[in-house]
Amino acid sequence: MKIFINGESRECAAQSSVLDILQSLGINPKTVVVQRNEDIVDRESFGSTLLIDGDALELVRFVGGG
C-alpha cells in the first residue's frame, strides 16, 4: 500500500504499524513525535497503530540545538 511520510509517497506492506515504519527508516521511536492524518499518535501506541492505504504521517524529530 501507499502512505505519505512528510509529504513524500512511500510503499509499505499492508498492516504495517507506525513502529514498523519507524524501524524501517532506522528511527528510534523515542526521538520523534508522530502525527497521523493530523492526530498525534501516543508513543505507547506506535506498535498497535496500524496504517491504511493513503495515510499521511508527519515525523518530527526532537531537536535541542541552541
Partner: protein, 253 residues
C-alpha cells in the same frame, strides 16, 4: 507602566506602524524583562532582535570563553575577542545597538542553583540552550512560576519553535518526556538556520507580550531549510506529565 520617551518614539516609529502593535505594544516591550538562556547561535540573535525591538531589560546567562568553532553562528561575538568570556562580548554588543537597554549578564549557564531566581526576575523566558538538561530546568521553573516560555531549537537544517504558557498549553516535557537518547552537545549547525529559529521565536515573544496576531501556543512550528518546507504540528499535553499535570487539575483546559 513606564511611557515611551521621544527618543524611543523616534527609534521604534517604523515598527509601531505595524497593525495591532502600535505604541501600546512598544510600551509593553519597554516594560518587560526577558531571560535568554545562552547567547550562542540561537540566543545571540534572539537577544539582538529583542534589543533592536526595544525590550526593556535582558537577563542573559552563558558561561565560558569564545572558541573558534563558535564563530560560524554566534553573531554577538567578534574574532578579536577569541578566548575571552562570551557573556561580556554579548553585553557590549547589545548595549552598542541599544544603550537604553538594561542588561543583566550572568557568567554561567542556567543551573539548578540559579534557575528559580532568574526565571523569577523575568516576565518572559526564551529557551535557547543546546542541552536538554538546561531546557528541562527552565521548563520546570516556568511551569512552577507560571511564566511564558518561548522554546527555540535547531539541528542541522531543521528548526522548531513553540510558545509554552503554563496552564494553557502543553509544557516542554509533555512534548519531550525524556532526554532524547543520543543527543550530543556538538551538532551540525549553520548560523542562518539557528538565526531563522531565533527570529521566529522573537516574534512569538513580541506577539505574546503585545497581544498581536496568532501565536504558536499549543503548536510547534517545524521548518526544514534543506527543502524549504514548514508546517505547524499540534501539540498534546500529557495527562501524566510530571511537570505540568498539577496545573491542569487546578485549571482544566
Amino acid at each position: 507602566m513606564q511611557a515611551l520617551t521621544d527618543e524611543e518614539r523616534a527609534v521604534y516609529e517604523w515598527q509601531m506602524w505595524t497593525r495591532d502593535f502600535g505604541e501600546a505594544g512598544q510600551q509593553a516591550l519597554k516594560n518587560t524583562t526577558a531571560l535568554v538562556s545562552r547567547v550562542g547561535g540561537l540566543g545571540g540573535p534572539v537577544c539582538l532582535e529583542l534589543a533592536a525591538a526595544g525590550i526593556g531589560r535582558l537577563i542573559i546567562a552563558h558561561g565560558g570563553n569564545l572558541k573558534p568553532s563558535d564563530l560560524n553562528r554566534q553573531i554577538l561575538m567578534s574574532h578579536e575577542h577569541l578566548g575571552t568570556p562570551r557573556i561580556e562580548q554579548a553585553k557590549a554588543r547589545l548595549l552598542a545597538l541599544n544603550p537604553r537597554l538594561e542588561v543583566s549578564a550572568v557568567a554561567s549557564n542556567i543551573s539548578k542553583e540559579n534557575v528559580d531566581r532568574l526565571v523569577g526576575e523575568a516576565g518572559i523566558v526564551f529557551d535557547c540552550a543546546p542541552l536538554f538538561e538546561e531546557r528541562f530546568l527552565l521548563n520546570r521553573a516556568c511551569v512552577t512560576q507560571r511564566k511564558p516560555m518561548i522554546d527555540c531549537a535547531m539541528f542541522s537544517m531543521e528548526g522548531q519553535v513553540t510558545t509554552i504558557v503554563p496552564g494553557e498549553t502543553p509544557c516542554l516535557q509533555c512534548i519531550y518526556p525524556e532526554i532524547p537518547p543520543g543527543w550530543k552537545r556538538e551538532f551540525p549547525v549553520f548560523g542562518a538556520v539557528s538565526c531563522a529559529a531565533a527570529c521566529y521565536g522573537v516574534m512569538e515573544g513580541i506577539k505574546h507580550l503585545s497581544g498581536m496576531g496568532a501565536s504558536l501556543k499549543g503548536q510547534m512550528l517545524y521548518f526544514d531549510m534543506r527543502n524549504m518546507t514548514s508546517y505547524r504540528l499540534p501539540l498534546q499535553r500529557r495527562p501524566d506529565c510530571p511537570i505540568c499535570s498539577q496545573l491542569w487539575k487546578v485549571s482544566p483546559p
